[in-house]
């Protein structure tokens, strides 16, 4: 088995929560505001519950073979050929996430700070450090996440608190916004895709085995969905939903709004650091997960030689979309709905297959 290193529950929670929260810093909150209207902040509730269910399903699945990862369990359940094929769905999912996030974060950087820099240079910057992180391994990434999250939390808290003068509590009314269907059905469908339970399934052995997956999973889901809820709530407080649904990068817009006297204004550049940290960790983790999954399904003893070619694939993949709107469209139309497959649908199928097999064995 590939040695992925070991780290504690707190580090795992922080690492996965940061990874799940990455989307919040991009266009995604604007999409949710458009869906839910003034009640956008309620959309994560349904998604969070579904994500918790996903964690429990993953926990049950991993409990079937306590010392294995989801990659090995897939192969065990579906056989070597179909199992490997399904594992490649995970790999494609991870590569797509890495490529689209690399592009989205790079576009965000261009909008916020580097308007004259070629996009390829920024993507290259993201990928170089992400590949380094993936090469150093999960332990180094988890420690990096653990070390940097206080700065991220402090930064975001200051940001939100600094917006206090602009808050208008009436912005959240009507309380159910664009209607219960939009808020609780469309919103749930969309936000449930934020979670990446499959990632937890791939790195489960580093987090202390399947017994920890439930506690870690529940904490990471609660943390990231609570953060999403807060961000949506404060965005709605600060700007009316009709305005905030038009923002291409709501988080950046919030940072730009800060004005604390003549001296402290326009401090959004500082949030580039927070942004960069989260984007880099997210991309590094997904490249790592793609490499480990591929190495596991191809029975290779080490994942590291795969990082470089997969990094190249991510680089090329991230350059394929023509522009930012196309990236947002790809994310909304394909990646988010597609995330249901590896995160919820396949684990349920695997659970059923393993259940039938066991029943068949018992009967036989």
């Amino acid at each position: 088995m590939i040695d992925q290193g070991k780290f504690g529950s707190a580090e795992a929670v922080v690492l996965l929560a940061i990874s799940m929260s990455a989307r919040i810093f991009l266009h995604y909150p604007a999409y949710l505001t458009e869906t839910g209207g003034p009640a956008a902040w309620l959309t994560p509730i349904g998604g969070g519950l579904v994500a918790l269910l996903g964690v429990l399903i993953m926990g049950r699945l991993l409990a079937k073979s306590p010392d294995k990862t989801v990659v090995q369990i897939t192969e065990e359940a579906l056989g070597p050929y179909l199992g490997t094929a399904v594992n490649f769905i995970y790999i494609i999912f991870f590569i797509s996430v890495a490529a689209l996030f690399a592009r989205e974060f790079s576009e965000a950087m261009l909008i916020a700070a580097l308007p004259f820099t070629p996009i390829s240079i920024v993507i290259l910057g993201f990928l170089t450090v992400s590949i380094l992180g993936a090469y150093l391994g999960l332990e180094a990434m988890a420690r990096t996440a653990r070390l940097t999250y206080p700065f991220i939390v402090i930064g975001i808290t200051i940001l939100l608190a600094s917006l206090y003068p602009y808050w208008n509590f009436h912005n959240i009314f009507p309380i159910l916004g664009n209607g219960p269907y939009n808020v609780f059905v469309l919103g749930t469908f969309s936000t449930a895709a934020v979670t990446e339970v499959i990632l937890a399934g791939v790195i489960v052995q580093s987090m202390g085995g399947h017994s920890k997956i439930n506690s870690i999973g529940i904490r990471m889901v609660l943390l990231s969905f609570f953060f999403l809820l807060l961000m949506l709530l404060f965005t709605t407080f600060t700007h009316n939903w009709r305005i905030s649904s038009e923002f291409s990068l709501p988080f950046y817009r919030l940072a730009r709004t800060i004005y604390l006297g003549r001296f402290f204004q326009r401090i959004e550049a500082i949030y580039i650091i927070v942004w960069g940290f989260i984007g880099l960790l997210k991309i590094a983790l997904t490249i790592y997960a793609a490499s480990v999954t591929m190495a596991g399904s191809l029975k290779l003893p080490d994942y590291r030689p795969l990082i470089w070619p997969l990094g190249m694939v991510v680089f090329i993949g991230s350059l394929l979309p023509v522009d930012m709107p196309r990236v947002v469209e790809l994310d909304g139309a394909y990646l988010r709905p597609g995330a249901w497959l590896p995160n919820y649908i396949i684990p349920v199928i695997l659970l059923l297959v393993l259940g039938f097999r066991k029943r068949g064995k018992d009967a036989g």
Partner: protein, 658 residues
């Protein structure tokens, strides 16, 4: 199939045992040690008659040695035939003899390669060997550099022993080696001679020694069992006397300032502790100065250094183990630890690493540090090198191990973390509020030291909107007449600062401090007036320099100086995004570091224990536990209530009024 296997081998993970990039293949010394085995192998190889490219390469290397051996043989054609026995064990000649033997043996082995088809090899090239290619544990098994040649057993003949010593020391050419003949005043008298190195020994002690042997032994019998033991126990009043049965041991003792005594008909020699060379006295710390706390520092004398530690840590559990490192200088290296606290695995690991080191000349603990550290390619220092005994004893009391090298005032303490490199020890001596305040200032300085110039460039070049309008106008007004781009300006100033720093260090004594002021003030002022740099940049570089000086670890401040230039380039190229890239990369690389197996960023990354001593220093009575990342045998440092008096009445009854 073969190709597939090779490809799989190429991409398969192999454990990096030595944490080094590559190690040169078998050296001449290795070959000499494994001589007979190697020859056997070669014979086997010849019997098989077929071999791959790699063994052909080995043969090339071997042939190269043979050529060397032959050359050396040829180099002394006219040398008269010497006494065979003495030639066999005489140090240098012995080495040459070995080479010659190697030459002969190698020639046989090389024969096959000459017969077979083999590409001509470049002389002196050795194929780099990856650590993973070395079998696990091989390094540990090797006996470091015990011998530079084989030495003979001691003879019972005084004459032979004298000749041996004279040969080994190259007498009479070697002028500071003294061989002093004497006659023991016993009945019957016994001839003997003493060997010592002039300048390394204490003349007063030696006077007493010779008096005791020559004058105060009148009429004592000499035919009373084993003479050497009789002399040791009854005749010599010295503090430390040892009996040695091999020449190697005697040489080691004499080279380290002891006096060796050989007696007629004795196959052993006595060595008497007469060390007495000139050395620097215990002085104040030069680099790690503090206000509150002990003011003494280590010196160059190993024994004085161990005594300084032992003086502070009066415990029978304090262990000092000695070893020798360095083929040429056989420098003494001591490791010290508290045996009831330090983890035995850590002590074993330290000894394993020390024993495996093969180096020609061990000059300083800095060299040893480079040979011992886990990751030599990372900028961060991975060991604490300190000149202050109190820092060492503090580390020992937490379960760490100290490594002392003779001739250097810097003692290594392992394992260490990055946070400990940013501590001075003074924070503990001060009240906790003051200590915490200093540490927060230093934390800020830590970030300023490597981030400020890069951040300035990021703001000035990419994020103008961050700067308030008045400040922006001030900066723009100052920069208006400066002809260089900001990045060139910053690099020029940083370079000038580094120049001043280096120059003031190299300039002799009083001038050094003067040039610092002259360089910084006059040069800076002149540069501003000449419109070469803007005044704000002078302030910026000055603040960065000051911040760098607050870093207590000399090695760490070096690392930050180099990081600073990296961030200048990143900030100038990609603004805050570039700085973020650098920060994440740096944090990941640093988080991946280990110092003797202990994570470098413990106890925060990974988080090991709550409320530990990182930046905020809690009151001393809260430090009830030793750092758990060191894995001490006893984690409890002190009881939960370390101030027993708070249980009783406040002030011991003195606060009663009336």
């Amino acid at each position: 199939m073969n190709m597939l296997q090779r490809m799989l081998k190429m991409i398969s993970y192999q454990e990096n045992l030595d944490c080094e990039g590559f190690i040169l293949k078998e050296t001449k010394d290795d070959r000499k040690k494994s001589g007979p085995e190697k020859q056997d192998k070669d014979k086997e190889g010849r019997a098989k008659g077929s071999e791959g490219e790699e063994s052909a390469q080995e043969n090339n290397i071997e042939r190269q040695y043979n050529e060397e051996g032959e050359q050396e043989q040829k180099g002394q054609p006219g040398e008269p035939a010497q006494d065979k026995k003495s030639e066999d064990y005489a140090g240098r000649q012995d080495v040459q003899g070995d080479k010659a033997k190697e030459g002969r043996a190698g020639k046989q082995a090389a024969g096959k390669s000459e017969d077979g088809k083999q590409p001509p090899s470049r002389k002196g090239m050795k194929r780099p060997l990856r650590p993973s290619e070395i079998k696990k544990g091989e390094g540990g098994k090797e006996k470091s550099q015990e011998k530079t040649g084989d030495y003979p057993p001691m003879s019972t003949s005084l004459k032979e022993n004298r000749e041996t010593i004279q040969k080994l020391y190259g007498l009479p050419e070697n002028k500071d080696i003294v061989v002093r003949n004497f006659v023991l005043g016993t009945q019957p008298p016994v001839k003997g001679f003493a060997v010592y190195i002039d300048g390394l020994t204490d003349k007063a002690i030696q006077d007493l020694l010779f008096q005791a042997l020559m004058l105060f032994t009148d009429d004592r019998p000499s035919n009373v069992g084993k003479l050497i033991e009789y002399v040791k126990e009854r005749l010599l009043p010295a503090h430390q006397i040892s009996v040695h049965g091999t020449i190697r041991e005697v040489l080691d003792a004499v080279n380290f300032g002891e006096t060796a005594i050989f007696l007629e008909h004795c196959a052993d020699a006595l060595t008497v502790e007469t060390k007495g060379w000139e050395h620097r006295n215990i002085d104040r710390p030069v680099i790690e100065q503090i206000i509150r706390g002990p003011q003494e520092a280590f010196g160059e004398n190993l024994r004085a250094n161990t005594a300084l530690i032992r003086k502070k840590l009066k415990s029978e559990n304090l262990v000092t183990e000695m070893t020798k490192i360095g083929i040429q200088n056989r420098n003494d290296v001591a490791i010290m630890y508290l045996r009831h606290i330090a983890n035995p695995d850590l002590v074993t690991e330290v000894k394993r690493r020390l024993d495996s080191i093969k180096i020609d000349y061990l000059a300083d603990s800095g060299v040893l540090e480079q040979l011992l550290e886990d990751n030599p390619y990372n900028l961060n220092p991975q060991m604490l090198a300190t000149e202050r005994p109190d820092r060492v004893t503090g580390g020992l009391a937490e379960g760490r191990v100290a490594i002392l090298v003779d001739g250097t005032p810097y003692v290594l303490v392992v394992p260490t973390t990055m946070y400990e490199l940013l501590h001075t020890g003074e924070e503990t001596y001060l009240r906790w509020q003051y200590g915490t305040f200093i540490r927060y200032i230093r934390t800020l300085a830590f970030y300023i030291a490597f981030l400020l110039p890069g951040s300035y460039l990021a703001v000035v070049l990419f994020h103008h909107e961050m700067i308030p309008t008045e400040l922006l106008l001030a900066i723009a007004g100052n920069r208006e007449r400066v002809p260089f781009p900001s990045v060139v300006e910053v690099l020029m100033m940083e370079f000038a600062f580094e120049l001043i720093r280096e120059a003031s260090l190299r300039l002799p004594g009083v001038m050094g401090s003067t040039i610092g002021i002259v360089g910084a003030l006059i040069l800076g002022q002149a540069a501003v007036q000449a419109n070469i740099v803007s005044p704000i940049l002078v302030i910026l570089v000055g603040v960065t320099g000051l911040a760098n000086f607050t870093i207590p670890s000399y090695s760490m401040s070096f690392a930050l100086r180099i990081y600073r230039f990296l961030y200048i380039f990143l900030g100038a190229a990609l603004g805050f995004f570039g700085i973020t890239l650098g920060l994440v990369g740096q944090v990941a690389l640093t988080a991946n570091l280990k110092s003797f197996g202990v994570p470098y960023l413990a106890p925060t990354g990974p988080r090991t224990m709550a409320g530990s001593d990182v930046v905020t220093r809690l009151p001393v009575f809260f430090s009830e536990k030793r750092p758990d990342y060191v894995n001490p045998l006893d984690i409890t440092r002190e009881p939960q209530v370390s101030r027993g008096w708070i249980k009783g009445k406040g002030g011991g009854g003195n606060d009663r009024s009336g």
